[in-house]
Each structure stands twice: as C-alpha cells, then as structure tokens.
Symmetry: C2
Subunit: 222 residues, 2 copies
C-alpha cells in the first residue's frame, strides 16, 4: 500500500479538539463523509446502520466504528451485513474520544465513501466530544418520550441532524412527534429532522439522499 | 421543629462514599427506605414513580428527589400526584452525587417511609455513585433491547433490583425477557428481577410488597 493510501494521523499527544480537527482534515481530503451517531442505549443506532448497509449496497462503500462500554456485539452485527466494522470498547468510559478514533483510523480502508461512528449509548456524555465527524446525528426513539430534548439539551444543540426513530411504534405510544420536533428546533433551529423507522423503512430514502448530498459537498471541495 | 426532626448532615467536605454513608445512617435511623432509580432516558422511571404514588396512597408516605440535566418537568409530574418532590438539575453532569442529596435532605420531611431518588437518565455514569440508598434499582425497558446488560454491565452489577419495564410493549418488539434476565443474573446473581408495566399495572403489586418488606427490615433494626 502506497504512503498516500494510509491514514497517517499522529494524534496521541494532541487535545481532543486538535485530534478531531486532524481526523476531519484527513477524512475530508479523502472525500469520506464521517457521521457520529449519538443516542440513549437502545434508540436504534445499530439497527439503522444495518438498514443503511442494505440501502447503500452497490451504490457506495461504507465502514463502521462501534463504541461500547463492553462487548463486540454491535460490530458483529455490522460485519454480518458484509460491512467492515471496528469495535472500540471503552471499558467504562461513557463516550468515545477523538484519540480512540485516531488509533483505529489506520486500519480503515481509505477508499470508502461513508464512515459511520456509533458512539456509546448515552444521551449526555458523547455530546461533549468532537470525533472529527462532518455530521453529528442524534436519534430520539419514540419510546423514550417527546419530553427529552430540553431535559438533555446538549446532544440536540450540538447535532446537525435529528432522527425521530422507531416511528413504527408510535401507534402504541403517547409520543407527540410535533412536540419533540418543535422542542428540538427551539434548542437548535439548524437541525435537519427526519422521522424514520429502520423496521418499516419510513424516512430512509430521504435520509440516504441527504447523506449522498452531504458527501457530494465534501467531494466537491476536496 | 425540634432538633431531632431535621436532617443535620454536614457533608460538604466529605468524599462521595463518606457522604453517602452518612446519608444512609441518617435515613435508616429514621426508618426511611431510600431507593436510587437508574436507567437510560425514557425507560419509565418517572412513570413508575407516578404509579407507585397511586399505590402507596393511604398506606405509606413517600417523597421524591428528581435528578435531571435540565428542567423541573419530572418533579412537576410527581407533585401533580400530591407527592412532595425536589428537583436537582445538574446543569450538564451525567449523574447525581451524594453531596447533591445531602444538600436537599434538610428540606425533606423526616416522617416519610420511602425516599425515591430518580437519577439522571443514563445507564453508565450513575452506577459509579453511591447516593446513600438502601436499594439500587435499575430499569431496562423492552424497547431498549435484551442485549443491554453485558453492554452496560456496571449498572447491573451494582444494582439490587432489576425492573424489566414497559412489558406492555413486548408484543410489538423482539425483546426476549428470559435472555435479558439470564444475562443480568449472570453478571449479578443476587439481583431481584420484576417484570413490570406502569401502564398495565403488571408486576406492581409484587414490587410494592417487596418495597414494604425492605422497609420493614430497616425499621426493625433502627
């Protein structure tokens, strides 16, 4: 592999912000769209990535970095879809940090289009750590309740995209989608909001189209 | 109010463990069962407390301390049930600490039977902080998935009670209750497990009976 085909990030002594900025430069110079997925445990991050793997098949190349306290379970689910996946286990820490991404980066193929980073399931801590992503995506699932944006504001304030997930469960729940959306937009008027279900497929075509456009923007500048 | 009828904890300079121990002594000397509720956001902690408020009415006195990053919403829901409630907003911190409880304690009536402390919605950070509770209760809701205990082990390892909540939603979900239970018990064989739904009432009579027995144990020793 030629020198230009590996990631050469030397990040170990840098602060999180510096490391994240270096990762972002490196990824964007390679026209890779990096997406950082944040949510509570069980909001549907891995299931969404499985659905995206199926929808991107034959159209784009993706890789996944999975963050969890313990277990390889999420990476195994992604690999079962034929997608390369790296598991970071934090061993207790409640969020990923840029240096953890920097350590994994040299192993990741440089010719991918999308790098999805699934953060530790936690609606609080990951919001404070830039991982070098281009897009930060927060998921709020219908069973969690429509009152969560103002109770956990930082994730919503710092995100670019809000996915109101598990829309297929809404008939069985008191979740008010307009209330959740309005509350999140009051915190962050620039949020792009999609109502999705990885089970029924609702909203996924729009989301995939949006991801391709965001990737085009990077590619056009690189 | 006579001296003996107020909480006199002087905790500000103590470590979390020392403060928690002092709170536990103070509460147990007054025959109060303190319960620390942990879970992901939206697993049903506040809805469970509303249901317990209704079931304990006329049988026991309870008070609630609510922990959240922002908003008074949860305390307002509890007060609407006629139960005294104090809201702690951490302003960003992902868990409650014993000193936060110590500061609120002097305001709480000393003649209650149960003090429920609802931690910040977070399946990671609160597990590291003793709040002076007698019982630590972790909720895992059906929509979160049956794979969570091993992915977020500390909450399950340190809890006394596991509530598999939102059982009413199980017909619509792939949640395997026996798998979740077995995985949690493999981490912590002493866990008491209840399958509950605050919506249908499933499991709540057993849970209330258990709470009364736990409170009796404290009262008999105080």
């Amino acid at each position: 592999m030629a020198k230009k085909d590996v990631f050469v990030l030397q990040d170990i002594l840098l602060s999180n912000a510096q490391t994240a900025a270096a990762i972002r430069r490196e990824l964007e110079s390679r026209r890779i769209l990096a997406v950082n997925l944040l949510s509570s445990p069980g909001a549907g991050k891995t299931t969404l990535l499985e659905a995206l793997a199926d929808r991107l098949k034959g159209r784009a190349r993706m890789a996944v970095i999975e963050g969890d306290i313990e277990t390889e379970r999420d990476a195994e689910r992604i690999r079962a879809r034929g997608i390369p996946a790296w598991q970071i286990t934090t061993g207790g820490a409640c969020h990923l940090e840029a240096k953890m991404i920097g350590k994994v980066l040299p192993e990741i193929p440089t010719d991918i289009d999308f790098l999805f980073i699934e953060n530790v399931g936690n609606l609080v801590c990951p919001a404070g750590y830039d991982l070098g992503e281009r897009l930060r995506v927060v998921l709020l699932s219908a069973p969690e309740g429509d009152d969560k944006p103002k109770k956990y504001p930082r994730a919503f304030v710092t995100a670019d995209v809000l996915l109101l997930s598990k829309a297929d469960l809404r008939p069985f729940l008191p979740f008010d989608v307009e209330k959740a959306k309005a509350e999140a937009l009051a915190l962050n008027p620039k949020l792009r909001v999609f109502i999705i279900s990885a089970v029924s497929g609702q909203g996924l075509d729009d989301l995939v189209a949006f991801l391709f456009r965001a990737r085009e923007e990077i590619a056009s500048r690189a």
